[in-house]
């Protein structure tokens, strides 16, 4: 072993993270070795509180601060109570919140159905969503899963499950991205964009 164990341990730990290989891991480790002590201490404290001070909201399963049963969005009575937007991950909530275009509440599935990876309906927060629809007075469910095979599969499954409840089910539109290039668009996107074309004007 060329390196002292504490250094090697940290390198190994960093390499476990997504997008970080052995080279980046060594660089980060040696940077921390020479950087001011506060940096390492802040980082260590942040890492510990990341796990100890967060929990899932018991209503929407988004991430929230430990000790709270509901997240800020669910406990905010100013938001539309009868619309639920279903997303895959907490980061999707963040993206939608940044648009400032949605004022209802969310439901985070914590993943998407994937037959290839063996992720089935029971591995997601689907039962919880169905229970919410049954117990609360919900007017509309917006399915905002990713426009990918897995996201679409999830949306299809949810539609099947939700249809009996009679709730209005909508799916985010799909089409061409801003600054996109028609020439490079795939068939699926183009077909959907054509099908969902809109009258110009206001």
């Amino acid at each position: 072993m060329l390196l002292p164990a504490p250094i090697q341990d940290l390198i190994n730990a960093f390499s476990q993270l997504p997008g970080i290989g052995p080279k980046s891991a060594s660089r980060l480790t040696f940077y921390l070795l020479t950087a001011p002590d506060e940096l390492s201490q802040d980082l260590a404290a942040a890492l510990i509180s990341l796990k100890t001070e967060t929990t899932y909201c018991q209503t929407c399963f988004n991430i929230t601060v430990t000790g709270q049963v509901q997240c800020e969005i669910c406990s905010n009575s100013d938001r539309d109570q009868d619309v639920i937007c279903v997303v895959e991950e907490p980061l999707d909530v963040l993206a939608l919140e940044r648009t400032d275009g949605f004022h209802g509440r969310y439901h985070v599935l914590q993943g998407a159905l994937s037959p290839i990876e063996g992720i089935g309906p029971d591995d997601l927060k689907i039962r919880e969503l169905l229970a919410r629809v049954d117990s609360e007075n919900i007017g509309e469910i917006i399915l905002a899963t990713n426009p990918s095979l897995e996201g679409d599969a999830t949306a299809m499954y949810l539609r099947q499950q939700l249809t009996p409840s009679g709730v209005r089910i909508t799916r985010l539109a799909r089409g061409l991205p801003v600054g996109g290039d028609l020439e490079y668009a795939d068939q699926h996107t183009l077909l959907r964009a054509l099908a969902g074309r809109q009258e110009m004007g206001d």
Partner: protein
Amino acid sequence: MLWLYTRKIGKVQAIAKGIRKIKSRKAGHLEPFTRVNLLMARGRTFLIVTQAETIDAFLNLREDLLLIGYAAYITELLDRFTYDEDDNQQIFNLLNKTLGRINTESDPDLPVRYFEIKLLELLGYRPELTNCVNCGSEIQAEDQFFSISMGGALCPRCGPKIPDASQISLNTLKYLRHYQRSSYTEAAKAKLSPQLNRDLEQLMQRYFTYFLERNLNTPTFIRRVKNRPQQG
């Protein structure tokens, strides 16, 4: 990171950079179960996708949860049974045609069963169905036994002596043989009853699990999706 099955170099792993960006020119062409034309460069460890264009996206298949499950099932089988960069054009054609059939035909069972049997054959795991695998005598027109570890049918005399042998109806055996030697068009002429389909499915599942020495992910998914009315 993608898994591809290519005509020229078999199964390969490739990296497509920037694919999660919403403006990616490749993302839409690199969805699962899509036949694509790719331009790739060899990186140090992996191939890197530089351009992608869809040949066939099998769009119908994407609209049905169960069909997605079946498509995932055949790709999972292919993935588990093949090695990197081991090219096999016949397997490539079989995969492509099967995806096409699942995409267009009303009943996905037949193409999937046909795929299972043909895949075993192309991989060299073809079960022996005409002679008893124990005594070698010709299999007669009566109900038989089948042993997975011995890879084939057993006559009624040898069957009870083999520990893992189980009974197999003459009809199931006939269908297996028929699929083994026929083209798809001919195989499609014989009507597949639901009961027979279940028998074949179970037999094949046991066969695959035996060779892979572990369970497959997708059959559980397919069962869950199929059973949805009871779930509520």
